[in-house]
């Protein structure tokens, strides 16, 4: 096992691409180190990306944001402009683990760990975020929902690394929100998560919406039917009810130690509705 801490993205890509055997990016390490400790992964090479300056910055970019892949949750939460534009994304990222975990955990790590219960991912998917990917064959930008393909599995090729997460420019009268269900108040993995992002016109009618759910399928899912329930409405009680029903209908969960199938299906609808209510408020609409 070897440890490297390159200072450029190119160097990181070269290391990852060059090594035979298993190579892993180390961002905050809050998933990777646990997996190593519990014998689930045994990488031959660890590439720590926290010493790459470009990956440690949050930059304003064409009206949106470019968040370096090594930016921690605590740093995200401290960025006022980001919090104002995308409160749902930031609140989702800040839900991850404890204060200690927040000092280290990254959005990109949450995404690339490819857990269906990852908290920031439904919020990012709802936000229409994309991932800037660098690899031995150059760079590409893809929607975040295309990164995870199943529990613990990503579409990233050998040597590829997520450089940054990109959040688009915000239309006026937009709001987003993320809610998760956990039995305790902290330190739990989501039993269900729901992210909602919506935009209103000047009359308060919803013109665009995206709804994403976590922990109800093998990966985070985008639910267009749920979004469709909101578009064209004032996000009134009837629309919210349709949204909840559509969200529940989209679930294909499993029974596990964290919750039952029927519980997840029902609560997905409840959370989608509650998140939509918050997003609506943030967009300046009233309920």
């Amino acid at each position: 096992m070897r440890y490297e801490a390159p200072t450029t993205i190119n160097a990181a890509v070269k290391l990852l691409a060059g090594k035979a055997g298993q190579a892993r990016v180390l961002a905050g390490g809050t998933d990777l180190l646990v997996q190593m400790r519990t014998d689930r992964v045994a990488p031959d090479l660890i590439v720590d990306v926290k010493r790459i300056p470009a990956m440690r910055a949050i930059a304003a970019k064409s009206g949106g944001f470019r968040i370096g892949a090594a930016v921690s949750g605590a740093e995200l939460g401290a960025n006022k402009a980001l919090r104002k534009a995308w409160p749902g994304v930031v609140e989702a990222a800040n839900l991850i683990g404890s204060t200690q975990i927040q000092s280290r955990a990254t959005l990109a790590g949450n995404l690339c760990n490819a857990s269906p219960a990852a908290d920031s991912v439904p919020a990012l998917v709802a936000a229409g975020a994309s991932a800037a990917v660098a690899g031995p064959r150059g760079k590409r930008t893809v929607p975040v929902e295309s990164i995870a393909v199943g529990p613990g599995k990503t579409s990233l090729k050998k040597g590829e690394i997520v450089e940054a997460i990109i959040l688009p420019k915000r239309a006026p009268r937009s709001g987003d929100a993320y809610l998760r269900f956990i039995p305790r108040t902290e330190m739990d993995i989501a039993v269900v998560g729901a992210g909602v992002n919506l935009t209103l016109d000047s009359k308060g009618v919803c013109t665009a919406a995206r709804v994403a759910l976590g922990a109800v399928a093998e990966r985070v899912i985008l639910v267009p039917e749920a979004a469709a329930a909101l578009v064209g409405t004032k996000v009134d009680a009837a629309a919210l009810k349709r949204l909840a029903a559509a969200a529940s209908a989209a679930c294909r969960p499993i029974d596990d130690k964290r919750g039952t199938k029927e519980f997840r299906i029902k609560v997905a609808g409840v959370l989608a509705r509650r998140a939509a209510e918050t997003a609506l408020k943030r967009a300046g609409g009233s309920k």
Partner: protein, 757 residues
């Protein structure tokens, strides 16, 4: 002062008892200097690691360690063959420490290695080949009792059943307590309710994993450093399992990072000693958190039926409980204590409780704070709550009408001495919490709890130093500030300042045998022995003063830290302080020390009432505790801060047990949630402040009136919270934990029922 006199704790004015001085081990613990189990190292030390069965039930056909032994850095490997199969009484302990013939649960130890580093040891474990024949398994208590269930031990014949069964089963024993005839009682009742309850196994959840450092010399003498609640128990057990003389093993108790009953037996200690003996080097073993969950001792899960009848006027006429507990792979579920405590709060004419001790393919249970009582109280106090509602009576009123008092014949046999249940109930009724308004979707629950408390074998030495300070040696590991209390008690007796006494927990070779720190016995028995040791020293101090003055020892009294002539005609001498006498000890007969050895009796039972407010989210089933108050009889609170701490800690463990903690087994018989992320103990943000009321009804069995306080506080919370949640959700919850899926299902079930009606 007559040495054996008891003061009247209700009127006596104490100098120190009842105050809140800083603890003597405090600075070490806030600066990181205190040495816990894993904090000790030895030169040339090896790292020990244990290979554990991944199967819940399997015959071990063979273990091949050849490959592992060849790995550079591996210094010793042990299996069951390295332990002596000695006395029958220890057979289960031995089989639990290292599987013999069969692995009986997921996590059961099958082999261990000692190597020069953790990474080599880990690699070595992977090279050990175990050939398992997988057998069918059972982890549920009711399933395990059924005929045809997979059998764990083919020689297990249920004890205390007449006539004895012919065939083996998973039922180790039956027990029964009570008096009168419940069936007669039910006939006298206006309302009878019978319900079934279930609780899942929970873990003590101490934050410090088991850890020890063993060092065996070639001369057969050994040293062991270990975090344990009872280092004498560790010494005796390990010596027996390794075939050593007890005198050849010296055990030192480290600071202990929580135990709650879970550190009252051995797991890794004999293994570390065996590895050290084989390797000829010190060996340290520290359990991982996963090992703690899979392979130490959680509590039992239970399945219970409770039936109680009352009159409209609120008199309980009959009570019956049938309790089934699984205690893991070996006999010993705490069902007897559960059955004994079931109705101990009440003064009943017709009462009976029956218990069944069942084995399953789970880790052997260990004691957990008031073992057996919380789950049974959950069942009994839930039924009482329902009865109170049915007859339209205030739940405290119902309990007051039936509360046990001095002279009551308890449901488990003895007659009560002076007890404080009524006082606790009244204090609850008068507490502002009891009548505070509730918010929407909130409910309030109340429940009572009882615990026996224990005394046991105890031995204390108290040495008077040359400068008038005192070295106090006790043999009960300090699991919650007991050294502070012992210093207070010694100083109180001797009449010297608190900071002149320093208490240590002596190793097994420096002091006589002491029972484990369990059963809420430490402040009671070690306190009692400390008082008597101090009085023993005072006798000697007075004799030295008498010698100095040339008068008879009977003519000397001890007052406020000084020896004085008992009356003017005894002579006219200036009082001698403890320091004065100590300074001259060399000339008056040598060192001065007090000792006391006792098998303490008269611990004095204690009672508590808990009040809980819970809010239930009707759409998700999520429960939030909004307010919580503990009212408990402490007899006499020596250090009130640590008494409150025991109340609060027990209540919060109970909150976890009630709401979210549980052992989750998969269909494959493997534990699914062996970590703190999914075994959900309460975190700070889950909780409100925990209010406490210390009731003091002195225990006649103790010179200061002290009762144990450590365990009673976990008895009422399961029921108090269940009653609160049931009120908030308007549906009775009978299974623990009341996790959100379970609560939501109950709420939805009720709604569906109404819709059908």
């Amino acid at each position: 002062m007559p040495l054996d006199s008891n003061i009247d704790p209700a009127t006596h004015k104490f100098n120190l008892v009842g105050t809140r001085p800083l603890r003597p081990d405090g600075v070490d613990k806030v600066t990181g200097r205190a040495k816990f189990g894993a904090d000790a190292n030895a030169p040339g030390m090896l790292v020990g690691k244990i290979l554990r069965s991944p199967h819940p039930h399997a015959r071990i056909r063979s273990i091949n360690t050849a490959k592992a032994a060849k790995l550079p850095g591996v210094k010793a490997i042990v299996t069951a063959a390295d332990f002596k199969e000695g006395k029958r009484a220890l057979r289960d302990v031995l089989c639990n420490v290292m599987a013999r013939g069969k692995a009986l649960y997921d996590g059961h130890a099958v082999a261990a290695v000692a190597a020069t580093s953790a990474s080599v040891a880990r690699k070595a474990l992977k090279l050990i080949q175990v050939d398992y024949e997988i057998l069918p398994h059972v982890t549920d208590v009711d399933e395990a009792m059924k005929p045809g269930a997979p059998l764990l031990h083919d020689d297990m014949i249920t004890a205390h059943v007449d006539p004895a069964p012919k065939k083996p089963s998973n039922v180790a024993a039956r027990c029964e307590f009570g008096h009168g005839d419940p069936e007669v009682g039910f006939k006298q009742a206006d309302v009878v309710i019978e319900r079934s309850f279930r609780t899942e196994a929970t873990h003590q959840g101490y934050i410090e994993p088991h850890a020890c450092l063993a060092s065996m010399g070639m001369d057969g003498q050994g040293e062991l450093w270990v975090c344990t609640q009872g280092h004498y128990m560790v010494r005796n057990t390990c010596a027996a399992l390794l075939g050593m003389d007890v005198s050849k093993l010296r055990v030192t108790a480290s600071e202990i990072g929580g135990g709650f009953g879970g550190k009252t037996t051995v797991f890794i200690e004999p293994v570390a000693l065996a590895l050290s003996r084989k390797a000829g080097k010190p060996v340290k073993i520290v359990m991982s958190r996963e090992e703690v969950f899979r392979a130490s001792g959680p509590t039992s899960s239970s399945s219970m039926d409770v039936k109680i009848g009352v009159t409209k006027a609120g008199r309980i006429t009959g009570a019956l409980a049938e309790i089934r507990m699984q205690g893991g792979a070996f006999a010993g579920a705490p069902v007897e204590l559960g059955a004994m405590s079931a109705f101990a709060c009440y003064d009943l004419e017709h009462v009976k409780s029956v218990g069944w001790d069942v084995v399953t393919n789970r880790p052997k249970q260990a004691a957990y704070r008031a073992p057996g009582a919380p789950m049974v109280a959950f069942a009994v106090e839930s039924v009482l709550d329902e009865l109170a509602r049915k007859i339209g009576m205030d739940p405290i009123e119902l309990r007051l009408k039936n509360a046990a008092k001095e002279g009551t014949q308890s449901s488990y046999g003895p007659k009560y001495n002076r007890i404080g249940l009524r006082q606790c109930l009244e204090a609850t009724r008068n507490h502002p919490h009891y009548t505070a308004p509730l918010g929407p979707n909130e409910g309030r629950g109340v429940a009572a709890g009882f615990w026996f408390n224990f005394g046991g074998q105890t031995c204390v030495s108290l040495n008077i130093n040359i400068d008038g300070t005192v070295a106090l040696a006790v043999g009960t590991p300090d699991i919650g500030g007991s050294r502070a209390s012992m210093c207070m008690i010694a100083a109180e007796e001797l009449g010297i300042p608190y900071d002149k006494v320093r208490a240590i927990v002596a190793d097994t070779s420096s002091l006589g045998y002491n029972d484990i720190s369990e059963g809420s016995r430490v402040t009671f028995s070690t306190g009692l022995a400390t008082i008597q040791a101090a009085r023993d020293a005072i006798g000697k101090l007075c004799a030295r003063a008498a010698k100095t003055w040339g008068i008879s020892p009977e003519a000397v009294v001890w007052e406020n830290g000084h020896a004085k002539p008992s009356s003017p005609n005894a002579g006219d001498f200036a009082p001698l302080s403890l320091a004065d006498i100590a300074k001259k000890a060399g000339n008056t007969g040598g060192p001065i020390a007090g000792h006391f050895e006792v098998n303490a009796d008269g611990a004095g039972v204690s009672f508590a009432i808990h009040l809980a407010d819970a809010a239930v989210d009707p759409e998700t089933g999520r429960v939030q505790i909004k307010r919580y108050t503990v009212i408990q009889d402490a007899g006499k609170a020596v250090h009130p801060s640590y008494v409150e701490g025991q109340f609060q800690g027990g209540a919060v463990q109970g909150i976890g047990w009630a709401l979210n903690e549980e052992y989750v087994y998969g269909k494959d018989g493997r534990l699914q949630n062996a970590g703190f992320l999914d075994y959900r103990i309460p975190v700070a943000s889950d909780l409100p402040m925990i209010d406490t009321v210390i009731v003091e009804v002195p225990n006649p069995g103790h010179p200061y009136g002290v009762r144990g306080v450590g365990e009673t506080s976990i008895v009422p919370p399961l029921a108090a919270i269940a009653n609160a949640v049931s009120a908030a959700a308007d549906v009775r919850l009978t299974e623990l934990p009341m996790s959100p899926p379970r609560v939501l299902k109950a709420i939805d079930g009720k709604a569906a029922g109404k819709a059908r009606r």
